[in-house]
Amino acid sequence: MRDRKEISGNIDWTLVFLYLALVIIGWINIYGAVYNEDHSSILDISQSYGRQLIWIVTSLFIGLVIILTDARFFSTFAYLIYGSTLLLLVGVLLFGNTVSGSKSWFHIGSFGLQPAEFAKFATALAMAKFFSSQHINIKEFRTRFIPLIILGVPAVLILLQNDTGSALVYSAFVLVLYRMGLSGNYLLFGVFVAVLAISTLMVGQYYVMGFVGALAIVLLFFIKRNRSNILNLAGLLLLALGFIFSVEYAFDHFLGDHQKTRINVLLGKELDLKGAGYNVNQSKIAIGSGGFLGKGFLQGTQTKYNFVPEQSTDFIFCTVGEEWGFIGTTVVIVLFILLLARIINVAERQRSPFGLVYGYGVASVLFFHFTINIGMTIGLVPVIGIPLPFFSYGGSSLWAFTILLFIFIKLDTKRASLL
C-alpha cells in the first residue's frame, strides 16, 4: 500500500498528460480521416478508428503493467530484451509476411505484429545499459565503437526487411552519443555529409566535386602550409570526393526505381504528380486547404477523398491540418515539443546514467519520427514511411511507443536511487 502510493506520487504526470493528449487527438483524427457514414460510431471495431480504441486501451494496460514492474527489471534484463528483439528481427526475415514491399510483419491470425517497432525501446535499453557500465570514456575507441554495434545490428536487420524508414531511425541515437560526450564536431560532420549527399543528388557529382575542390584550394590559403596540414587537407579532399562518387553510384545502382523517383521528386528534379509526388502534393493541398481555423471536425474532404492507403497511418497529420487548420497543427507541434523538452529535463534529473541515457534515447527516437513524419507531409523531407508517434493508426506502433515512454516514466519514479 505504501509502495503504491510512493509510485503514484513519483509519476511524472506531465509526461502522462502529454501522452494522453497526443493519443486522444490522434484517435479523433483517425476517425476524421476515415469517417464513414455507414459506420459512424467511433466505437465500431470494423473500422480503423474502432480498432485504434482497442490499441489505446491495451496500451494503457501495458503502461500500467510497466509502472507496476520493478524498475530494476529493465536494467537487469536490458541486454536480454535487446537480444530477444534481435532474434525476432531475424525471425521476421525468415518467416515474416510481406506488407507493401517490406518483409517486416508477423501475422498471427488477423493480428499483425511489426518487430521493428519494438526494437527501438530494446535498443534504447541496451544503450542505457552500456553507458551505465564501468569504464566509460567517450574518448576511447571502445566506448564509441560498441554503441555503433548496438545500433548497427538492428538497423541492418531492418534494412534487410526493406524497411528503410525504420532503419534510419537508429541514426537518431547520435543525439544520445552527443549528450554522452561525443564531440559536437561529429554532429557538424554529420550535417556536412548530409549536405554533400543531398547536393550531389540535386546537381550531380561533378559540380559538387568541383565545388569541394575549389573549397580546398581556398582553404589552402588560410591554413599554415606545412607538410602535415597539406597532407591532411588532401586526405580530407580525397575522402569527400570518394564519398560524393559513392553517393551517386549508390543512387544509380542500389536504389529501386520508385525510391529514386521519390528522392528526385523531393529534390525538385522531377515533377511526378501522379506517382511519388502525388502523396506529397495531395498532402500539401489537404493541409493548405484547412486554412487558419480548419474545415471542422469530419468536414475534411481532401484527406478522405484523395490518398487512401496511408491517410490514417503515415499521413495522419493531413487530417489535423485540414480539419483543425493552422491552430490544430500548431497545437500538435507544440505538444510534441513540450513532450520532447520534458523528457530531456526529466532525463537530466536522473541520478543513474541508465535513466539518463534511456531518456535521451526516448527523446531521440520520438524526435526523429516527429521530424521526418511531419516534415514529409508538408514537403520538407522525403517521403519516408514512418508513423507519427501516438498518432498514427496501428497497434504495433502505438504499443511500442507506449512501452518506450512508460519504461522511462517508470525509471523516473526511482530517479532518487541508483539502479
Binding site: N36, D38, L175, Y178, R179, M180, G181, G184, D257, H258, L273, K274, G275, N281, K284, I285, I287, G288, S289, G290, G291, F292, K295, Q299, T301, Q302, K304, Y305, N306, V308, G321, G325, F326, T329, T330, I333, V334, F336, I337, L340, A341, I344, N345, E348, Y360, A363, F367, F370, T371, I374, G375, I378, L380
Partner: protein, 600 residues
C-alpha cells in the same frame, strides 16, 4: 566537472527541437494561412481526378494502309461518396440493368473505396451514352470516362498484331505506371511495342459542384498532366499479300512467312487457322477468348514462330553448304543412289545415278545427302566425330537455326539443332555416330525449325550467305521511312558455295518437283519438303525465293497433315510470290484449287 559541462548540452538539444518546431510552424503558416493556392475557392467543391487515356498508336502496313485504329467507347464511373437520392429505377432502365445489378455494383464500388472512382459499367455503346449524357446531371456521383478500343478494318494478321486487354494485379504490382482498369498489349505487336503504342496517361483535376457538374479545372490546371498520344507504327507487312495468304490458307492448318531478303522485313506472317482480331476487343473479349482457346484446331496458336517442325528436305541445302565449306563436297562429287554406300537410306525416286549435287537437290535424293552428311561427320578434319559434329552444328546455327532469331515479336521459339551433349544423354558418351544421327542428313530426327526460321534460311540462300534479323516494324512516329535498323548476321559459309545450292534450287523449279508451279514470268528457286509427323499425316513444306538473280521475296509455307510438299505448300508459295511481284495472279485455276482446298 566533465558531466557538468555535458549537462549543458541539454540546452543545445532543446534548441534543436525548438528550431525544428519553429520551422514546421512557419512552413504551416505559409501553407495554411498565406498561400492561397491550396484553398478551395468555391465552398467545399469536390475534386475529381479524371484520368486522360491517350489513344493508342495506329498501325499501318508497309504501304501506309491502315490496319488498326481506335474507336471511342465510354466507361461509366461512380464515386460512391457522392451518390445521393436519385431515381434508381429510371437509371437502371437507361443502362438496361436490373435493380439487383445496380445495388451489387454500387456495393462493390463502396467496398473498393467510397472516395475513389470505380468502374460502374464498362464500354457503353454510343447509343446508351447518347441517352445517358443529357440526364447524367440527375445522378450525382456518376460520370463518364472516354476510352478507346481497338478496331481492325480487315480481319487479318491477328497473330501478328496481337490484342489488348485490361491489366491484371500482377502487372500493376510490377509496374507502377499501370492502374486498375488500364489497358495493356497482351500479345503480338501490341505487347512488344506496348511502350510506344500506349502513349502516356494524363490526369485532369476538375472541380465538381453539388449537382455533379464539372465547374472547371482546379487551380487553372496547375496539377493537370497532359496525355501524350501513342506513337503510330509502320509495319513491314504487305497487307494485300497478308490477306491473300490468309485466303489461300483457309481450311488448312499451317503457316506462311515471307521475308524481304535484302532487309529482313517480314512481308507476310500468318498462322492458320486464324481469327478475326475484332473478336478479342471490348466486352466480348473474355467470352470469345474462352471460345477460341477451347477450339481443338488452336486458332490462338501462332504457328509461324511457335510451331516447330522437322524441316525435312528443305534442310538438304544446308548440309550441302556445310559439305562445300568443309571441302568434303564439290561440284564434281558424285554418289550413287544404290549399293552399300547409300545404305541404309534408300532412294525412292527414279533418276540418273550416280548424280552430282545439282541433280541431288533437284531430285531431293536422300542417299546423296546421307553420303554428304557422313563425310562431314567423318572427314571434315576437325578431329573426332564429336568435334566434326559440333563444327557442323556451328555452321547450321550461323544460318539462324536452333536459336531465337531475335525478332521484335515476343514468344518466338528457338527450334532445335541438338547438341552433342543431347545425344550423349540419349545414347551415352561415345556411343553414337553418323549412323545414329543419320536422319539429320535429310532434315528429320531431332531437328526442329519454326516456319519463321525456314523462311529466314530461304533469305540466307537468296542473299548468298547472310540475313538481317527478321522484323515486322520498320518505323514509328509519323513517317513511313524506315527508322529502326536490325543486325546483319553473316553465315560461316562462303558466298560462292551458295551459288551451287541456289543453282540446285533453280533446277527444282525448272526441272524438278516445282516445274508445274512456275509463277508467271518469275524465276523462282525453291525446295519442297515433307516433315514426318509421328502424330498423323506428314506436313507439307516449301521454301523458296524469287527472282533468282535479285531476290525480293523469300518464303516458307507449312501445311500441316497434308502429305507431300508439292500438293499444297508449293502451289501456295508460288502464288504468293506471283502475287507479291506481279501484284496479280494469272493462274486462276491453281488459285481456286488452293482457296477451296481443305485439309482438316
Amino acid at each position: 566537472m566533465a558531466s557538468k559541462t555535458l549537462a549543458s548540452r541539454r540546452q543545445s538539444l532543446i534548441a534543436i527541437f525548438l528550431v525544428v518546431g519553429f520551422v514546421f510552424i512557419i512552413r504551416l503558416f505559409y501553407l495554411q494561412v498565406i498561400d492561397e493556392s491550396y484553398k478551395n475557392s468555391a465552398q467545399n467543391n469536390v475534386l475529381r481526378y479524371v484520368t486522360q487515356y491517350p489513344a493508342r498508336g495506329l498501325i499501318y502496313d508497309r504501304n501506309g494502309q491502315l490496319l488498326v485504329y481506335n474507336e471511342a467507347v465510354y466507361d461509366l464511373m461512380v464515386m460512391p461518396s457522392q451518390v445521393t437520392q436519385m431515381d434508381t429505377a429510371e437509371f437502371c432502365r437507361l443502362l438496361d440493368i436490373s435493380l439487383e445489378g445496380f445495388r451489387e455494383r454500387l456495393k462493390k464500388a463502396k467496398e473498393y473505396s467510397r472516395f475513389k472512382p470505380s468502374m460502374f459499367e464498362k464500354q457503353l455503346s454510343k447509343e446508351t451514352y447518347g441517352f445517358l449524357e443529357e440526364k447524367l446531371y440527375r445522378y450525382p456521383g456518376f460520370y463518364v470516362q472516354p476510352r478507346t478500343l481497338r478496331k481492325y478494318p480487315k480481319p487479318i494478321a491477328s497473330h501478328l498484331l496481337g490484342y489488348v486487354g485490361e491489366v491484371n494485379q500482377q502487372i500493376i504490382d510490377k509496374n507502377p505506371y499501370y492502374k486498375s482498369g488500364d489497358y495493356i498489349g497482351i500479345s503480338g505487336i501490341e505487347k512488344s511495342y506496348e511502350e510506344l503504342l500506349r502513349g502516356i496517361k494524363g490526369i485532369k483535376v476538375r472541380m465538381v459542384d453539388v449537382h455533379n457538374r464539372e465547374v472547371g479545372s482546379y487551380q487553372d490546371g496547375l496539377l493537370d498532366t497532359i496525355a501524350v498520344m501513342g506513337k503510330d507504327l509502320y509495319l513491314t507487312i504487305d497487307a494485300e499479300l497478308q490477306e491473300y495468304g490468309e485466303l489461300l490458307m483457309q481450311g488448312k492448318m499451317g503457316s506462311v512467312v515471307a521475308i524481304e531478303p535484302s532487309t529482313g522485313e517480314i512481308l507476310a506472317f500468318l498462322s492458320s487457322p486464324g481469327y478475326d482480331p475484332n473478336l478479342l476487343v471490348g466486352r466480348v473479349r473474355g467470352k470469345n477468348f474462352k471460345f477460341l482457346s477451347e477450339d481443338p484446331v488452336k486458332p490462338l496458336l501462332n504457328r509461324a514462330m511457335m510451331g516447330q517442325y522437322p524441316p525435312g528436305s528443305t534442310f538438304k541445302m544446308v548440309n550441302d553448304l556445310v559439305g562445300l565449306e568443309e571441302g568434303v563436297l564439290n561440284t564434281k562429287t558424285r554418289y550413287s543412289c544404290q549399293g552399300t554406300g547409300s545404305s541404309p537410306i534408300r532412294c525412292t525416286h527414279s533418276h540418273q545415278s550416280p548424280l552430282d549435287v545439282y541433280v541431288a537437290i533437284e531430285q531431293s535424293c536422300n542417299p546423296f545427302h546421307w553420303n554428304v552428311y557422313r563425310s562431314i561427320l567423318s572427314s571434315s578434319g576437325h578431329g573426332s566425330l564429336r568435334e566434326n559434329y559440333n563444327n557442323w552444328r556451328r555452321h547450321v546455327m550461323s544460318m539462324g537455326f536452333g536459336k531465337k532469331l531475335g525478332t521484335d515479336l515476343g514468344n518466338e521459339l528457338s527450334g532445335s539443332i541438338p547438341s552433342a551433349e543431347k545425344y550423349d544423354a540419349i545414347y551415352g558418351k561415345g556411343r553414337w555416330n553418323a549412323m545414329t544421327v543419320r536422319s539429320l542428313s535429310i532434315g528429320q530426327g531431332e531437328i526442329l525449325a519454326t516456319p519463321l526460321q525456314i523462311a529466314n534460311s530461304a533469305a540466307v540462300m537468296a542473299n548468298r550467305g547472310f540475313y538481317y534479323v527478321p522484323h515486322v516494324v520498320r518505323a514509328s512516329g509519323d513517317s513511313l521511312i524506315r527508322s529502326i535498323n536490325y543486325e546483319k548476321v553473316t553465315s560461316t559459309i562462303k558466298p560462292q558455295h551458295y551459288e551451287v545450292v541456289v543453282e540446285g534450287m533453280r533446277q527444282v523449279a525448272t526441272m524438278g518437283t516445282a516445274r508445274w508451279y512456275q509463277p508467271e514470268g518469275i524465276s523462282m528457286c525453291g525446295k519442297t519438303g515433307t516433315a514426318e509427323n509421328p502424330h498423323g499425316d506428314d506436313h507439307s513444306l516449301f521454301m523458296a525465293f524469287a527472282p533468282a538473280e535479285k531476290p525480293v521475296i523469300a518464303i516458307a509455307v507449312v501445311v500441316e497433315n497434308s502429305g507431300f510438299g508439292s500438293t499444297w505448300a508449293l502451289p501456295i508459295a508460288s502464288l504468293m510470290i506471283e502475287k507479291y511481284i506481279n501484284r496479280e495472279v494469272k493462274r486462276k485455276d491453281v488459285e481456286e484449287r488452293m482457296i477451296n482446298g481443305k485439309t482438316y
